[in-house]
Structures are given as structure tokens and as C-alpha cells.
Symmetry: C2
Subunit: 423 residues, 2 copies
């Protein structure tokens, strides 16, 4: 039995463990700011695996001068990033590797739409349901159990492997950036984002915008003389819908997204205004996520969309005088068009074929992932490849368990090949 067979056998043997581990991971409600318990749990797991484990707090001051930094509106106190290093024992014989996954998840609200406990990790048939199980705790479990299977099979690798669990992939990417700032680099990397058995070839950039509209509030008995901030906001939301049409269908498409019907989403994700039905709301706040192409600068897009909104505001007698306040926070993320012959692709393709008969597909995603930092700013070839699932960010998010097992094997095969087996 060769090394790969032994490792695959190990993965099959520990499959029940891996499922239980994933269930545990899914039961942590690790939304923004609430990742600490999950990270402690993972750090303990890494220590159990005898990895050199580093828990550290991002230094926002140091991060803020790095390219790709996104301004947060919150503190990093008490929120560790975790890196577990499996050092090679002796001179480097292969290529070192980063396996990175994010454990932050978005809110499960509105809860009423769920048929399962979002923190219950319910298994039904081949699916496990829960917030973050697809995006991307299943990938985290797969990458950890791939390394564990290699260890348990008694195989020594020819180069270091770093297992990294980060947060804020969903809003800034500063968790990933913090690992790089701390010096965790390697010859290549994978992120098991749940795109299925598919290699990422391009991703859009993302910015977050906040718009505050001020009306003139008053008692409803003079509501027709007042200015309702909710109604005024819709002028700007309409303008954003037009902007969405413009950037997707009027402007030329980026080559990497030529087969994607609607690459650049402009999503009104939040709106909040008022606290009394009989009061004319004097302000309204809404937040928007805006996509951009790999060759665009986030700052230029911020300027463009701001100008677009102010132009729309100028058409309205009230908004012309009382201009909306337009600010940006969170994602200031560049898009990435990965190199055609990224070094990891051939290894990943080979590993893919150890598990699947079908060809490995390539994906241009209309979302962002942490790979941008590694490829754009640290010259580390890195792509995504992960489990299959659905309803990410929605109700009844699920992951296909068979795909998790298969991805665990693909990752193990990749590691053996990329890092090499110590001779």
C-alpha cells in the first residue's frame, strides 16, 4: 500500500471523527466579534495534533500601512488568529504550504426562515445544516483532517505546512493579512472555500458603502410638509440599481468574467430608519456591497459610486441641499485574476484526479476571498478548492458531506505531492 492509499484509508477511518469535529465547529456562533471560543477550540485541536501553535492578536496599527488593508470599525482585542505549524523534520525537500480557512460566519438572521437550528449542525441524509457549515467550516475541517491523516499514517513531509484559521474574511480580510504581517509565508497555498471541486481563477473586488440620508422629521400631522428620509433614500437606491445596470451591462466586461451574466453585484444589504410609525423619520441609513473588476482600484470605484449618488441627489430639491453622507468601511478589496499557470494548479489538478474521474473545473467568482492578499501582495500562489454546498448567507445553509470527505482526500493528495514525502 503506497503512502496515498494509507492516507486515504486513514481519512476513511477517521471520517466519523471528522464529521463530529465539523459538527462541533458548526455549533460555535462565530459571527463577527464572536470568534474567540472557536479559535481557542481550534488552537487546542492544533496542540493535540502536536503542531507549533501560535495564537496572536492582529496589530491594526501595523496592518493599516499594508496594501489590501480594510478599515474596521471594531477592535481586535481578545480575538486571536490561530496558526498551527507542522514543521518538516530536516532540510526542506519539497514546497512549503499554507492551508487557510476562515471561521467567521455571517448572521443567521432572519431566523424565522430556517427549518433547522442554525447552530445545530443537523445531519439529514448526506447534508449537514447550519450557518457557516458550508462557508466555510467544512473546508476548515477538511484541511485539518487531511493533515491529521498524513500524521496518523506516519508520513513525514518534506516541507512545512501551516494550518491557519482566520476571521473577518466576510468583511475585511484583515485576519488573513495579519498572518502575513506576522511573517507566515510559504511557497503556495490553498483555501478550501466551498466552491466545489473547482479551482478559483479569478474573483471580483468588493467595497462596502454606508449612506446616511437626512430628512426633516416631525409629527405626522404635518408629514406632507416634512421630508421622509425613507422615501428620500429610495431615490438613491434607485440610482444604485441604475449603477448596477451600468457597470454590468454598459461598461465592458472583464475578460475573466466574460461568461458571467452579472459579475458585479450591488447589494443593498441593510436599511434602518425610524422608531415610530407616526413620526416622519428624520434619518435613514443603508449599507451597500459593491463589486469591482480585478483591474480596478477600490478607491476609484468608491469615488465613482459616490459621484454617481451625488449626481442623483442633485436631481432632487431636498437631497441637493441636504446631501447624503456617503462613507466607506470594511471591504476595500481588490479583485484578482490569477495567473494562467499558477504553480498550485497542476498539483491541484493531479490531486483532483486521484479522487474524481471528471476534469477539474475553473471558476471566476463574483465574491471575494482571502486569496487576494497572497497572490497580489506576497507573491504566494494560492487558489481555492473546497466542498460543495448551498444557501451560503441564507437560511438552511448546508454542506454535502460526501464532498467534504472527497475534498479531504484531494487536499491530502495535494499536500503529499506539493510538500513531498521525506525520503
Amino acid at each position: 500500500m503506497d503512502a496515498l492509499e494509507k492516507v486515504f484509508e486513514q481519512i476513511d477511518q477517521s471520517w466519523d471523527d471528522e464529521v463530529k469535529f465539523l459538527q462541533q465547529l458548526g455549533r460555535f456562533p462565530s459571527t463577527l466579534g464572536n470568534e474567540t471560543a472557536t479559535q481557542r477550540f481550534l488552537a487546542n485541536k492544533f496542540r493535540e495534533m502536536s503542531l507549533e501553535t501560535d495564537e496572536f492578536i492582529p496589530d491594526v496599527k501595523k496592518l493599516s500601512s499594508l496594501p489590501g488593508f480594510s478599515a474596521p470599525e471594531w477592535s481586535y482585542d481578545g480575538r486571536p488568529i490561530v496558526v498551527g505549524k507542522l514543521p518538516t523534520k530536516g532540510p526542506k525537500q519539497g514546497k512549503s504550504l499554507i492551508l487557510q480557512g476562515h471561521i467567521d460566519v455571517v448572521s443567521p438572521e432572519p431566523m424565522r426562515l430556517w427549518d433547522y437550528d442554525p447552530w445545530g449542525s443537523t445531519i439529514e441524509g448526506d447534508r449537514m445544516y447550519g450557518r457557516g457549515l458550508c462557508d466555510m467550516k467544512s473546508g476548515v475541517a477538511a484541511m485539518i483532517y487531511a493533515v491529521k491523516a498524513i500524521q496518523d499514517a506516519g508520513i513525514e513531509l518534506g516541507a512545512d505546512v501551516l494550518l491557519e484559521t482566520v476571521y473577518e474574511e466576510e468583511c475585511t480580510g484583515n485576519g488573513a493579512l495579519a498572518t502575513l504581517q506576522r511573517g507566515y509565508v510559504a511557497d503556495g497555498g490553498l483555501i478550501p472555500e466551498p466552491f466545489g471541486p473547482t479551482a478559483l481563477k479569478a474573483q471580483v473586488g468588493v467595497i462596502w458603502m454606508r449612506v446616511r440620508v437626512t430628512g426633516a422629521g416631525s409629527h405626522v400631522n404635518i408629514a406632507n410638509q416634512s421630508v421622509n428620509a425613507i422615501e428620500k433614500s429610495y431615490i438613491l437606491i434607485d440610482a444604485l440599481k441604475k449603477y448596477r445596470e451600468y457597470i454590468n451591462y454598459t461598461k465592458p466586461k472583464h475578460e475573466a468574467f466574460k461568461d458571467v451574466d452579472h459579475p458585479l453585484n450591488v447589494n443593498i444589504g441593510i436599511i434602518k430608519s425610524g422608531d415610530w410609525a407616526s413620526t416622519v423619520p428624520a434619518d435613514c441609513m443603508f449599507e451597500v456591497r459593491i463589486g469591482l473588476y480585478p483591474d480596478q482600484d477600490p478607491q476609484e470605484i468608491k469615488d465613482e459610486v459616490k459621484a454617481w449618488l451625488l449626481e442623483a441627489a442633485a436631481q432632487d430639491p431636498w437631497l441637493k441641499e441636504v446631501q447624503p453622507e456617503i462613507t466607506f468601511y470594511g471591504f476595500h478589496a481588490h479583485g484578482v485574476n490569477l495567473e494562467e499557470n499558477l504553480e498550485v494548479y497542476s498539483y491541484l489538478d493531479a490531486a483532483h484526479h486521484k479522487v474524481y474521474d471528471s476534469e477539474m473545473k475553473y471558476l471566476a467568482t463574483t465574491a471575494t476571498t482571502d486569496v487576494r492578499f497572497y497572490n497580489l501582495f506576497y507573491n504566494i500562489p494560492m487558489t481555492c478548492y473546497g466542498p460543495t454546498g448551498g444557501d451560503m448567507h441564507g437560511a438552511n445553509e448546508w454542506v454535502d458531506l460526501t464532498s467534504v470527505r472527497e475534498v479531504t482526500k484531494v487536499y491530502a493528495a495535494f499536500i503529499l505531492d506539493w510538500c513531498g514525502i521525506r525520503k
Copy 2:
């Protein structure tokens, strides 16, 4: 010096006290559910004035079978209604009187628009600023100090006076209804709502509606295949704007409101959706206040606006299938067109002329007040007349202090005449 002169002199002498009392009253943040401290303060005031003071909790079960009841979504536990009775000493010689004011106030949010502490009762020139000082703590101070001046002048009245401080005028009117349910009735009444030295002749009815729109939430990378509940909500908000045009300009106006340009406001007062810019919001909730005419039944208008919205929903492929959930709570308030020769008018007009040279004006208000219960369901002639101010429900709400002093005098003159001076 006759009785009225003595009372007016008393009001002038105690004016500084009245201003201080109003300042204290304004410093209680008596928003919905937070009225208890204010009510205890007022009950103590009534006891200091040797009134027979009753603090009682509304019995929602008993109220719910009464006409004019509005369904609350909250409890009345620990939230007293206060009635202070100044009983006449001997056989009734005049007419008994209810003086009623509400001490609940709407939220001061958004605070950022205030130039004054909303709970600071700041005096600048002739104005006092703060949430609820106009609507309607100044009126409450005026009615109390009118009675107090009569007491302090040593005058015995010929009939009982009830001083009542209630809450939920701003959302249900159940405070007023509770006083009636408990048996507090009289030959007539006044509410010092801040309409200025103006008698109320008509008011609209009001209903509150809540609309929940369900979209199909998901990760933003498939946002264009998802259904954004915020964007879908605007289809219904547009329909409500059309409904507003229809009821104000297409339907015939009620006679009492023929001189009012836009009597029936339809106000989108609250909207809430989403918690993440990069998630397509799966639901959106908004609340609306809708006005109706005195001859209309609130239930009929509820049915009408619901049908209107469902008709608009039917034009949209998504909303047709996933219909909005339309419910009603709070205000189920009839409009009132007061009798031409309401008994209180002639007395009020006479009292008005004791203080003002100008004619007393009459007002058809596009808001609701508690007078509806007394006139419609208890045959108690009651109108409003009160201080002058501005920015009710808005930032920098204020009351004109001179008007408060004048209204205190008008009320005192009214009481002396209506209740009579014991011979």
C-alpha cells in the same frame, strides 16, 4: 378683586414654580413603557395638592371589549394611570370637568439632529426645548397649575374636577380609555394638546400597519438570482405613495377637512432589514401610519389598504407568489367631527377672551387625540385647546412659555365658569 383676578394673580405669582415643574416633567424620558416615574411624580404632586389620588393599572381584558380599543403589543404591568380628583364640597352647583393630558412622548431619535438635550428642558428666551415639552407636558403643567391657582386663591368650585394624566396617546389611546372604563366621567372636558389657543373641531382617525416582505436571501455572489427584500419593499412603498395620492386627491374630502390640502397622511415611519452588507436581505419590515376620515371605520380602511397592497404585490412575479404579510397593531382610532355647538365651546370661547383679544380659532387636525373616546363613546363633550410650540416628534421640540402661562389662565377662567364658584 374678583375671583378671576385673584386666580390670575395667583398664576402670575406661581409662574416660576410652574416653569420649574414643567422643567422637571420634561426631564423624565417617558417614552412608551417608561412612563412610571413620571406618573409617580404626578401622583405625588396631586397628593401635595390634597387631591383624591388614584393610581391604577389598566385592565386590558376589560378594555378589549370596549369600542375604540386598540390592540397593544406590550403589557400594562407597573404602568399606572393617575387621576386626581378635586371634589366639590357640598351639593353640585356647576358642571363637573375632566382635564386630561398624556405624558407619554415619542422617541427623540435621531439624537444627532438635536441642538439641545432632549431631556434637558433648556430655556432659551421664551422657549423651553425638549422631547414632549410641547406634546404635551406643557399642557399638563398648565392644567395642573390652573387648578392649583384656584385652590391657592381659596376658591371652592361648584362641581368636581378630575385631573388625569395618561399614556399611550401616541399609539393606542388605551390610557384614556382606561380612565373611562374605571368610571371617571364628567359633564365635559378639555385636553391641553398644543394646538395653540384654538379649539379642536375635528380630527382624523389613525391606523398602524406592519408589512413584512420576504425575499430569498443568499450570498451576494448570486445576488442577482436572489430576491432582495429591501428592493421588493419599495414596490409596496411606491404603492402606498399612490394610495396616499388617491385618498387625498381622488376620493372626495370630508367636509370638516375641506380647507386642508392634505388631510390623510400615510407615513412610512419605520423600516428595518438586514445585518450584513454582503448578504441579500431575506426579509424587510416596515411600519406605516395611515389617516382616515371621521365617517370611516378603521376596519374598513385596514381592509382597503391591505387589498391595495396585495393588488400591487400581484403585479410583481415574486410578491405575487410570496405575498407580503400585512398586519395591524396599535392605533385603531376613529376620526371625530365634533358637534357644531359642543357645550364646552361657548365656555372656552368666553375664557379665551378673558386672556386674548383675538377671536378663538377652530382647528381640524390631521392627527388624532384622546378626545375621540369621550365624544364618540361616552357622550362627554370634550375638545382640545393648549399651548403653542413646534417640532413635535422632531428634533429641537419646543414650547412657547408665554403661551403656557396664557393657557393656564384660560383654563382657570374656564374652570371657574364651567364648574361654578360655590356660593
